[in-house]
Structures are given as structure tokens and as C-alpha cells.
Symmetry: C2
Subunit: 393 residues, 2 copies
């Protein structure tokens, strides 16, 4: 039996904490369960069988508490109600399955839920909740499936003057197949997120592991980096008086630093036919812009929930890359769009771009994620649809 | 120039956010700088040249705001003062270098700083700040040093009925030296922390990389897992009515699941002479208990800021493992204690245990970290002292 040692300054606090956490096990509605995303043993938030969610916050001195979060969870801020002991609570209408950011607004101050881990979204650490989808497990860790690995690699970017941290998925068996080389998918997050998004919120590693175990997906390396990369302030200041554009240096970082670093560090197939790029929302815009201007570097393109800007014209878009239809179709192995049907403007816009490209004779594909909004369930499904199509001859 | 796409529901919010963040660049005292641990571009908290720190929180509706945090940052909660625009602020006395947890208490509610990343400590996500130590860079990422990797590996624990997630440091060159096998150090966090602590707060990967580049440290694999492992509730409930002990299953998980998993997954030297264990605070207690009861599995032992409980007697401690002095000295390659001189009770207790062992003829070593308390700077320094001593014949 292990002796548990608690530090001299902290023992009582932690023992009280442990007991308090466990003591919260109160009598709860039998058809609800703690969210799987809760910090160990936390009973709230709880997800009902109808996917409604009950949240709680102890704030005896607060005057007004609201629940806020992603549209898949709630369509608008929800007022929470107070009980005499200072516990505020609210139950949402049935939510959309998947991962949703949320937070409490307490007398105007945005506060995370201490019962939740935090995920980087909205430009800050934010609480999140996982809502299960009945019968769906393609993004779950599974016991009977070989597992790849996520590797955290730091590299210094001379272009930005900063250290960057990439997350790299290597497929099952990478360590043992010591001469095998793999194609590479570069995968980008959305605005306000970072290089942990596809791992923590997206569960890309589980999606790849499960696809590889069950179907025709090609083993690949996936490189998950931040899409933010600014030029050093002094450099920007010399060119303009506006604040540094937080993504201005990304294209250069990716082409001149990240790709060479990955190709020298991992056993990649370092050719355009074996290099894909995909991203969501802001990362979709970056993907389209970088790949369509550098078809010498990429042959596979995935755009999730981020169509080109309004005013898209096939003949002029991306400096005319679509003008020579047969050249484009010969060169690009896959131009793939994905969007959730509930993210209405983006979905309509994605569909319109897809249709105009199709009508022009450009080969492309569209995946529609039923009933999901601008949220991670759309992007998990999108990766699950996209990955099996990549790198086949 | 990349086109930055912002999602349909979020563009204005994020643009406003970006501009707001950058606009905070106000006129600041010239001898202070934003903490390196701040989320990109956040100007506060700021660290002065005397290591005082200025914190800010915008909370116009709050009545009372306090800064709280680790003893290396502040010895007691500090009241923050309000300005007419609702900005609360406070400047601390000079702080101790290293990493410190902190948070704001707003009318009794514990709130993280949106300008800070969060680190898992105190059983929850908590803000943190990095205070530089003049002339000290052994835990910094360096350009001219070969880098190892942190690998995130999930494994299912049958003992706890849950997935667990280990972080594994592999040294520079691991991928290329495809037949080399390495000794393994198992490294544990403290109470209220988790398997990310040694990576995010401790920067173990930088400490190893820098040691390997500069000195006689043996290349090793370091396995950084959570020290929490509870038996499934139903199982516990059948044995007692008390809540599940959150660490009760750890010894069994480590010996029966984690070590075999690591030894079959990585190129380890799977013998006691090539297996070390070290931990801090609660993890030190776990280390001493597990290693001293399983000397058939471990030959190297590191106890940081966590001496045995009060009432330590050499002859009876750990079921008499120290009774046969020459047998112990022959068997155990290293018994090493580390503690910060400012964590007074723990330091005194560690020293007393060390001295009584020494007087009994047990070979052991003591490292004293000058001026640091029960905090990560003590443990970074401890790892930096301990690692070079490991695995030499």
C-alpha cells in the first residue's frame, strides 16, 4: 500500500480537496452522468440521456451568473439560477454531440469551470465538455487497435525569432519499421486555437489509429503546428505602424522551416505527391492559400469549414490557378471541402464554391457533416472522411 | 501573403480580440517585461528587474480582489486595488525565480488569469508565471543543442479500468540509433498535479537535452506518468465505505502495467540496474515506498521534497530494508535526497533522515537547493543534479 506524502505546506489543503471532490457524489438523476471531460471525480457538469447538460458553479457572492459557450451546446447565453447556499445551476436544452467550449460569466467576468480541464480556444484557456454521440466511436481510444504516438517537438524559428512547438502523429509501428518512409499531412487549427487543438479537442491520433486498423487508409505522419506566426515586432514596425499580423509569417515558416525540419527529422516521403495540407476555419483559409500558391509542394488539399472569401471567381481565384483545368486536374490529386450543415453561411458558401469549381470541370469533392455547426465534431468527421482518401496513387 | 479566414460566427469577435490584445501595448515601466509564460502578446503580468511582479485583472463589478499563489511568489494573499475603469492591480515584493502557480480571488471566487496559460496544479487548471533566474539557463530550450522528444502515449489500465496517458522523453538520436537500448527513469509529479507537470512546469526535456550536450549524463528514457491511480469505485466499495483512495492502485499499475508497457514499446534496458525512479513531494513518498519495497526492480532512487513520514527509524523503516547495511549498499546504486532550503519543515526532515541513514552507514546523498521552497525551481534543480548521477557503473 503506497504511503501518500503530501508536502509540508499543502497536506491539509489537498486532503480536504480530495475529500471534498469525492463527497460531491450526491444523489443525481439516474439518467445523467458526469461528462467524460470532467477532471477526475467531478460530478458536474452532467450529461443527460437527452444530451441536455446541467452545469453548476458555487459563487455565493455573485449577483448574476450566465453560462456561455459554443453554438452546439447553447444558442445564446443562459441565465443560471441561484440557490440559498450560493450554488448556481442551469440545465441546457439537448445539445449537439461532440466537443464544446464553455465558460461562466459571473457579474461580467469570464470564469472557467474548475471541474473542467481547459483547452486552448477563443485565444485563451477555456473550459470544454465532451458530449457523446450514440453509436459513434471513431474518435475514441480503443483497446483492440494498435496505437500511434503524438510527439512534441520544439524548433527555433529564425523567421519569427521564437521557439515553436509542433505535435507530430507517427503511425503504429513507426519505431519498428525503421526503414519505411511515410507521406505527411500538415493539419491546422482554427482562429484562437493552437497546436494542441487537433490532439486534445480533435483527437486526431484516435481517428488515425482507428482508420488504420479498419480500412484502406494509408499510414501517414501528421504534423500539427500552430497557424500563428508573426514577424518580430521591430521588423513589422519598420514596415507599418499597425500591430503585427499574428499569422503573416506562417506561410514562410511552414515552407522554409517546418517542412524542412520535418523532412530531416522524420522518415518522410519528401515530395509533393506525398504531402497534404488541411485545416479548419482560419486554417482552411491558410491551407487553400498556401497550397494553391505552391502546387510544387502539395498535391492533396483539405479545406474544412473555411471556403475562399466572398467574391470567389473560378478564373481569377488564387492568381488563376484554376484557369488551366486539365493542368490543375492532372496536378492536384485531391481538392476536398468539408463543412457542417448547421454552420449555415459557411456551408452555403462552401457548397457554392464547390459547385462552381465542379461546373468549370475542376475535380473536387464535398463532404457535408449532418447537423453540426462550426465546431470540433464537424472537423473530427471531416478528418475521418478526408484521411482515407489521401496518398492513394 | 496568407489570406486569413475567420469563421462565419466568429470573425468579428476574433478580430476584436486580436486588436484588443495588441492594443494593450501601453506605456510600461522600462525595467519590467511581460512574463515569458504569458499568452502571446499579453502585457501583464509583468516582471520587474527586481523580480517583483505586477498583475492586472479587469473586473468592474468586483468588490474585493486578491492575488493568491505559491510561496515563492507571495507569502500570503495580496489585496489588489481598483482603479475607476475597473482594472484591479497589484505589485508583489521581489519573487523567487522559477515557476509559480497563481490565481485571483474575486469576491470569494477563484479565477484564473486569461493572460496566462493554465497548468494542472492544485487539482485543477491554474494560472502560472515564469520568473527568470539571472545567469541560469539549464532548463531553457537552446538552439545549439540536440533535442530529444516528448512522446504522448495512451495505454489502457485494466487495474483501474481507465485509459492513462504517459509522457515519455526519448533522448536526441533515439530514432536514428535504431539498435541502441537505454536505461529508464520513472519520474513522478506532486499532489494535485498530473503527467504534464514534469514537461510543462518542470521542463524536464530541456534539462535532459542540455545535460546531454554538456556533460557526463547518460542518455536515458524518462517516463512521466500520473501518480494518481484509483481502483474502480465498485471494487473499493465492496471493501470499505470510504471514498476510493486516489493513489491506491498506483504501485500495482506501475509494476504490472506501466513498466511492462514501456519495456515492450521502447528500446529500454529492462533490468533493475537500468531502472531509476524519482518523484517530488507526494511522488517522492511514492518513489521511496515503491522502490524500497521492490529493490528487485530498481537500483536508483531519487526523493525530492518528500522525506519519509515523521517517526523514521533506520532499522524499521520500509519493513527493515536498511537493516542489512552492506546488502543495501551493494544493491542500491544511489539513494538521493533533494530539498529546497526554504521549505523549512521538509528540508529539516529530509536532512534528519539523510543524517540518520549516513550515521548508520547507508550510502546516500543530499542536495540542498538554496533559497527555494516547495516549488518547481527546487525540482528543476533537483533533476539537474540527480540525472548526471544515474546509470553510471
Amino acid at each position: 500500500m503506497p504511503i501518500v506524502f503530501f508536502g509540508a505546506r499543502t497536506p491539509l489543503k489537498f486532503l480536504v480537496l480530495m475529500v471534498a471532490i469525492v463527497a460531491i457524489h450526491s444523489v443525481c438523476a439516474s439518467d445523467s452522468a458526469p461528462a467524460t471531460s470532467n477532471i477526475n471525480s467531478a460530478e458536474y457538469p452532467r450529461v443527460g440521456s437527452d444530451l441536455s447538460v446541467t452545469f453548476r458553479l458555487k459563487a455565493p457572492n455573485a449577483k448574476e451568473v450566465k453560462l456561455e459557450g459554443g453554438t452546439g451546446l447553447i444558442k445564446a447565453p443562459l441565465a443560471m439560477t441561484n440557490s440559498p447556499d450560493g450554488m448556481w445551476s442551469v440545465t441546457t436544452p439537448p445539445s449537439v454531440p461532440g466537443f464544446h467550449y464553455y465558460w461562466f460569466t459571473v457579474d461580467g467576468l469570464r470564469v472557467n469551470d474548475s471541474a473542467s480541464y481547459s483547452w486552448f480556444g477563443w485565444g485563451r484557456e477555456t473550459s470544454g465538455i465532451e458530449i457523446p454521440e450514440a453509436g459513434v466511436d471513431f474518435y475514441d481510444a480503443k483497446k483492440d487497435v494498435p496505437h500511434g504516438e503524438i510527439r512534441i517537438r520544439s524548433y527555433f524559428s529564425e523567421i519569427t525569432g521564437k521557439w515553436r512547438r509542433a505535435h507530430i502523429y507517427t503511425p503504429p509501428g513507426y519505431d519498428h519499421a525503421s526503414t519505411t518512409r511515410y507521406p505527411v499531412l500538415y493539419l491546422l487549427h482554427g482562429a484562437g486555437e493552437n497546436e494542441r487543438g487537433w490532439v486534445e479537442q480533435g483527437r486526431a491520433q484516435n481517428i488515425f489509429d482507428n482508420l488504420l486498423a479498419s480500412g484502406p487508409t494509408k499510414p501517414m505522419i501528421a504534423v500539427i503546428d500552430s497557424g500563428y506566426a508573426a514577424y518580430p515586432v521591430a521588423f513589422s514596425a519598420s514596415k507599418s505602424s499597425t500591430p503585427a499580423n499574428p499569422t503573416a509569417a506562417f506561410e514562410k515558416v511552414m515552407l522554409q522551416e517546418l517542412i524542412p525540419f520535418i523532412d530531416t527529422t522524420y522518415r518522410t516521403l519528401a515530395s509533393r505527391e506525398n504531402r497534404a495540407m488541411a485545416g479548419l476555419s482560419m486554417g482552411s483559409g491558410q491551407t487553400l492559400n498556401i497550397t494553391l500558391h505552391h502546387l510544387d509542394q502539395f498535391a492533396w488539399i483539405g479545406a474544412m469549414s473555411g471556403p475562399p472569401r466572398q467574391g470567389f471567381e473560378v478564373s481569377t481565384a488564387y492568381d488563376g490557378v484554376f484557369r488551366d483545368i486539365s493542368a490543375f486536374n492532372n496536378r492536384v490529386k485531391l481538392l476536398w471541402f468539408g463543412s457542417g450543415t448547421a454552420e449555415e453561411r459557411i456551408y452555403a458558401s462552401t457548397r457554392a464554391v464547390y459547385e462552381s469549381l465542379q461546373q468549370s470541370g475542376i475535380h473536387c469533392q464535398l463532404y457535408s457533416s449532418p447537423g453540426t455547426d462550426h465546431e470540433w465534431q464537424t472537423w473530427r468527421r471531416s478528418l475521418h472522411e478526408l484521411a482515407p482518401k489521401l496518398f492513394h496513387p
